[in-house]
Symmetry: C2
Subunit: 370 residues, 2 copies
Amino acid sequence: LTEELFEKVPAPPEDYIRVPADKLKEFVKKVFMAYDVPEEDAEVTADVLVAADLRGIESHGVQRLKRYIDGLKNGVVKPRPNIKIVREGPTYALIDGDFGLGQPISWKAVKIAIEKAKKNYIGMVGVYHSNHHGIEGYWVMKMVEEDLIGLATTNTRPLAAPTGGLARVIGTNPIAFGAPTKTPPPLIVDMASTIVPSGKIEVYRRKAKPIPEGWVVGPDGKYITDPEKAMPAKGGILLPLGGLYELMGGHKGYCLNLILEVLSGVLTGSALSYDVGPTQGPKPSNVGHFFLAINVEAFMPLDKFKERMDELIKRLKSTPLHPEFKRIWIPGEKSYLTTQTRLKIGVPVYKKVYEEIKKIGEEVGVKFPE
Amino acid sequence: LTEELFEKVPAPPEDYIRVPADKLKEFVKKVFMAYDVPEEDAEVTADVLVAADLRGIESHGVQRLKRYIDGLKNGVVKPRPNIKIVREGPTYALIDGDFGLGQPISWKAVKIAIEKAKKNYIGMVGVYHSNHHGIEGYWVMKMVEEDLIGLATTNTRPLAAPTGGLARVIGTNPIAFGAPTKTPPPLIVDMASTIVPSGKIEVYRRKAKPIPEGWVVGPDGKYITDPEKAMPAKGGILLPLGGLYELMGGHKGYCLNLILEVLSGVLTGSALSYDVGPTQGPKPSNVGHFFLAINVEAFMPLDKFKERMDELIKRLKSTPLHPEFKRIWIPGEKSYLTTQTRLKIGVPVYKKVYEEIKKIGEEVGVKFPE
């Protein structure tokens, strides 16, 4: 099973090198520490980035290192923020991230959500004054590791249009959701509420491969298939899940996007997507996050819940197959198997990324593991 | 604005009669009471059904009366269930609906969620042993009327396939979400997690109009456009939002569907979609619901939250238009305007529906208002 996935790595071997995950993480951590980020914060930030590479989400892995470092260099991301709990009750908290790296802020928030859910069955934590916090799925994985149901969402800078609109006003606002199972892997959903996130366009651009019609429109409202022109910086406007028209449910993707904006943006007090800035500045990004941890024991014994999850998964996987498909996947299953493989054979780092992050390390005297 | 909507009523005037909403509601209420449903429970059930007609969601309105009455006649729906709170804490509760009508059960659950959120900032209520409870949006409207953020979801009988599968295993599991605004209408999302719910196919079937390619596949996996063959009873298999393939995000619709199944099904202890039965029997439906009410004052003053909602909506509505669109809609806005219109000029009841429900009334001596 893992071999099949390994074969699917979508690049020829000469395009990347493989680096052991722990060494890659140590490298990233040291780079952050060189920019005055405390060891504990550098540790979790590195863990989130390498977790993305392990799970096969390279767009959110170490290739983003430059953006975070640029943010720290420009002073819009603070290495030592004063993260404060602004409001708190038995089952909720609101956190001011003081414009630090999103990962240490969210780790603090998620630990609070976990603690409250363990004690009082629910933990709802909002965050404002934050930055990009890596893959959304990481945060629900942390809640699921503690046998809780986890929901995590964040708003992002504006990259997509609401149904009927023709401008980048709404974010790619991702939603992550996880639930523990008896048999691994747990169920982990991690997805943008647009058809694709901008990173996916970037992947096609690197390969000079046309993108499918329906993902992106240009300033004239027509579909774009040239990946170069589809990049947001070149005028590309992403579309919500369901696409441009209501006919295929584009308004539903837009609705999902708004649900996530209300929770992570409006409710937390952060910037709303149209005002969210990029990590590297010039203005502070002011992203908002929303975390919800649910202790299933409010409703039933944990074992029973896990058995019911296994039952659901078993039934889904035994669905007769559509002739064009080979398998029914459970959310998070591909990423789990990819992680198992990459923990053994190393994380692929593309040559271009390798050159870039190696140089970032050299600038502060941190050697890339080779 | 309302006139424009009125003009859009998609049927010629000779196809329907208009009935004042309050009289229609009174009729429905009396029919339920004739089947031994207590007045208070009949009242809320009638209110939910007529609210669907008022909002323009006729598929979930009084045309469903027969199904509920059939369920009561067959004994799979109990007119006087013993609804019990099985588990309870300051911010959560689990309710055994004892196979009553879904509406009175959910009304009890939502009142508890509201009460807990008002007092302790969060109210999370799960329900099992329930039945179809009408439009999902009704329940979040009740929470929003109390100035709370509301989330409601339910599982349904199996009508759709998971990504890669070719059998009706997952439900059309709807999600509803609402948030209060300073300026009406509030934001109200109410949508199935499939591209369309089965009621939409029924609408096309009645008009003998082909359905768009991409909504439904047949037992051979090919798209069906003949609305007759697309009906679930004839073998049609609905597709998740995003469609058949991962290319356009079909797996994301499937993921959303599973999130809702975990919350409303796995977590509550109800049947899971593949085991949920129809309202009219022969076996009890055992639907599950999940309600979450969030008191925004956990995070910020209510006025500030509402102002931020208005700001978001204003910005969305001022997005430059795509040349093929005339307006940016906010979730719930069309339904709100339709309600305003129909409260004035009456609810359209299609002739076929009129004949059917009139007869249902006559059977128990309740006269249809004319």
